[in-house]
């Protein structure tokens, strides 16, 4: 039977009332945990694993897939409204989306995030259906050398968030790199900068730093203002998106999807990198780049789509090769195992019906999520009607509970407030905070991949230029850095002539 026929059969299975109910339960739970900081889809599915003792596999996976996609939708909500990212992949959304919310455009930001997630989720699921094989083959061509070159390309994107002073931006980046180094080094097994604190051995969770810098830092900053703005943020314009918003959003959605899906399918790709690349691209392509950093809708639309498409991409190696490439995928695989189903290259052949039903339910779940989330936009923006002192007090409570929820560790709470105070000082002295996060995510990845490549090549640096894919990525990075400089030189004579 061809793909389409198999997919139709999958739809027939997924559309039974019972399975629809599971899908609805999944997307609802997923949206809720996405909204709550600290409770990610991985942990939620892990906590729900015992239901595999009672429920048949098809229903269980429809539920899990719903939670997985739902969390990606919900994650953007808290980022935009209260600057408290629930997932590391929505950190970029928080940067631009929260600025939009402060300008009274929360409705548009939430709507473009929801529709963008739908577009990306749908194209991503189409990608799983029809492109899984070629994409996974491309993804496997990425070894340590290629990943390192990809990271180099990503470091270029930092320039998009550096702010007015390069020195301050790079200082912030260095702080992020330092945070990323804390913990046991994977390649040598030795602890670094842990100061004998056992809880630091696994490193610092990037979410704690993000929430500390963004939410706690901002709250402290507000608290020290002499005159606290008692006025609530006005919601300007319609709750949803204007015609102009649609026009500015659709291209970023598609470009974000194009970044997210293949990188998500890469075993070490992850969801954060495509959001960085998308943000950088949108800023470079935008007609009004000066809006970026002050609430540009493209900066929400692109990264949100990239985030959701990468979530679909992660399922490609999982379903075609049985490779778990994210924590959530690993837990879903362990659910397969508790049914005695062995996920692997044979999964599609031996459990075809289950897989196609799962894919069909992803399409259905996506529609459900759009239907569920768009009306919620009107409800969510009402949160901003809470007077600011109360709202920020609430954010502080929310951030604290969420952080404790991640690990149930007091050390993490102390860290949250240390980082929060640091965020406050950075704001006070006009240092940008986003480079800290980017450095913290990219730094350890770049370091590990570099050292893996060095071990494999016996210390020969030529490995980065000998591999064609790696070389291509390095050239791209060089172009991204040099092109604006060259462009400026070429362009300069023109105004003089005129």
């Amino acid at each position: 039977m061809d793909t389409l026929g198999l997919l139709m059969q999958g739809f027939a299975n997924a559309l039974t009332p019972m399975n629809l109910l599971w899908a609805l339960a999944g997307v609802t739970v997923g949206t809720a945990i996405g909204v709550l900081p600290g409770l990610g889809p991985g942990l939620t599915i892990a906590l729900l694993l015992p239901i595999t003792y009672k429920v048949d596999p098809t229903s269980a996976f429809i539920l899990f897939a719903g939670i997985y996609y739902g969390a990606m939708y919900g994650g953007s909500t808290t980022s935009i409204l209260i600057n408290t990212p629930g997932e590391s992949a929505t950190i970029i959304t928080a940067m631009e989306g929260h600025k939009m919310a402060k300008k009274g455009r929360a409705g548009a930001a939430l709507a473009t995030a929801a529709v963008g997630s739908f577009v990306a989720g749908t194209f991503g699921t189409l990608g799983i259906t029809f492109l899984a094989q070629p994409v996974v083959e491309l993804a496997l061509k990425f070894g340590p050398a290629e990943y390192f070159s990809l990271m180099i390309l990503c470091f270029v994107t930092v320039s998009a968030v550096l702010g007015s002073s390069a020195l301050r931006g790079l200082t912030a980046l260095a702080i992020g790199l330092f945070f990323g180094m804390i913990g046991i080094d994977l390649q040598s097994g030795q602890p670094r900068f842990t100061f004998g604190i056992l809880e630091l051995l696994d490193g610092i969770n990037v979410l704690i730093v993000a929430v500390g810098l963004f939410a706690v830092g901002e709250t402290l900053h507000l608290a020290t203002q002499k005159k606290v703005d008692e006025e609530v943020i006005d919601i300007k314009g319609p709750v949803g998106m204007t015609k102009e918003d649609w026009k500015r959003s659709w291209k970023p959605w598609l470009r974000g999807t194009a970044f997210g899906f293949p990188i998500g399918a890469m075993p070490a790709g992850g969801a954060e990198i495509p959001t960085f690349l998308s943000y950088y691209t949108e800023k470079k392509l935008s007609k009004n780049p000066e809006e970026f950093g002050h609430g540009a809708i493209e900066g929400v639309a692109g990264p949100e789509a990239a985030n959701n498409a990468s979530a679909a991409g992660v399922l490609v190696p999982m379903l075609t090769l049985g490779l778990p490439t994210s924590a959530t995928a690993a837990i879903m695989l362990s659910a397969f195992q508790s049914y005695g189903i062995n996920p692997g290259p044979q999964l599609l052949a031996t459990q075809g019906q289950l897989v196609w039903t799962l894919i069909a339910s992803l399409f259905i779940g996506n529609v459900m999520l759009l239907v569920l989330n768009l009306p919620l936009v009107g409800l969510w923006v009402k949160i901003l009607k809470i007077p600011q002192p109360l709202l920020y007090g609430g954010i502080l409570v929310f951030a604290t509970i969420g952080t404790y929820g991640i690990s149930r560790s007091v050390v993490d709470l102390v860290l949250l407030y240390i980082v929060g105070f640091m965020g406050f000082m950075m704001r006070r002295f006009d240092f940008p905070t986003s480079p800290v996060i980017i450095g913290m995510i990219l730094g350890p990845m770049a370091e590990q991949e570099f050292r893996r490549a060095m071990t494999i090549s016996n210390g020969d640096l030529m490995i980065f230029v000998q591999k064609p894919l790696s070389l291509a990525l390095l050239i791209l990075a060089a172009v991204a850095v040099l092109a604006p400089l060259v462009w400026r030189v070429v362009k300069r004579p023109a105004p003089q002539a005129a």
Partner: protein, 325 residues
């Protein structure tokens, strides 16, 4: 698959013989346990978590106990949870902690003030043999080919596996050492988990890989990876063991349960009896089968000796690898 089933049966039969006397001998103490606190020093979703929850499910199904409290404290190969278990449950007779080989290595490598020797060994429940694989397109057809290259040019063979100092790395070190190669010379490439390591193998990025057999099983069956040797005593799933191929190395990535420190001998015996009863019940046997876990059961003093020996052996190899002093 038949081999595995036979092994399972053999293991279960052995356990039955070992455990038969105990539950009958001390029914009084065994009854004293009415509820069980299961402490899992790992986040939900991993192998230790699965073990802890499977214990709960099996005991419930066989009607051994019905009241459980499960607590997860994850981090650093169990080294975050271990001190907490010791501190909170000292002298408490109905508390168990899941642990295993990973915790042995983590304790040594991190120079932790508290190690697995600070808790009371109860029983080793399951074990997984590791497997050495190469990509399907690799020029190495046998373990002999791989070892020959390792001896000739140690650094030219790159090994993919889990984090440095973990079971996978230890096996690579032991293979090198057994062949007269300095373990530090081995080009070991650490990955964050089985998934990324598999991807590196499938993409022909590394020469060889080491992981639990289950982790690579499906890729081996599909012919995408070639299994060269397993780390168990005898061959498994038609893959010859290292020992059978003249490399004197046996390694089990084992998982077991431990009691709190400072419990009385009677309390310890009651926990041992409870575990003996569980492994002989139908529910646990079924769990081993569906999960594909190897039931290498060992309880009481014998397990205590095993743990001590494992700590000593692991210390030696970690020193050889330059990861411990």
């Amino acid at each position: 698959m038949t081999t595995r089933r036979e092994l399972l049966k053999a293991g279960a039969a052995g356990a039955t013989l070992a455990g038969l006397g105990l539950p009958l001998a001390i029914p009084a103490q065994a009854q004293a346990i009415t509820s069980l606190d299961v402490f899992i020093p790992a986040a939900p979703g991993g192998g230790w978590d699965a073990t802890g929850r499977a214990i709960e499910a099996a005991m419930r199904a066989d009607g051994l106990l019905s009241e459980f409290k499960i607590e997860n404290v994850g981090g650093a190969g169990g080294m975050v949870g271990l001190p907490r278990f010791v501190g909170q449950k000292k002298g408490q007779g109905n508390a168990i902690m899941i642990g295993g080989m990973v915790m042995v290595g983590a304790g040594i490598a991190n120079k932790s003030p508290m190690t697995i020797l600070d808790v009371t060994p109860i029983a080793r429940l399951t074990g997984e043999a590791l497997v050495v694989v190469v990509p399907a397109a690799s020029p190495f057809k046998t373990m002999g080919d791989l070892v020959a290259q390792l001896k000739k040019e140690p650094k030219s063979v790159s090994w993919a596996g889990g984090s440095a100092g973990g079971a996978d790395h230890i096996l690579v070190g032991q293979i090198a050492k057994a062949n007269g190669v300095d373990p530090r010379q081995a080009s070991y490439v650490a990955f964050a988990g089985g998934g990324p390591a598999q991807a590196a193998l499938l993409g022909n990025q590394v020469s060889a890989g080491v992981s639990g057999y289950g982790e690579f099983e499906e890729q081996i069956k599909a012919g995408k990876l070639r299994a060269l040797a397993v780390s168990s005593e005898a061959k498994q799933n038609n893959v010859p063991s290292l020992k059978e191929q003249g490399i004197n190395v046996v390694l089990w990535n084992w998982r077991g349960v431990f009691g709190a420190p400072g419990i009385t001998t009677a309390q310890r015996d009651a926990l041992v009896a409870l575990m003996d009863k569980m492994v002989n019940g139908p529910a646990w046997k079924k769990t081993l089968e569906t999960r594909g876990w190897e039931g290498i059961y060992l309880s009481g003093d014998k397990f205590g000796e095993y743990v001590k020996k494992d700590v000593a052996d692991t210390t030696v190899i970690l020193k050889d690898l330059g990861l411990a002093s």
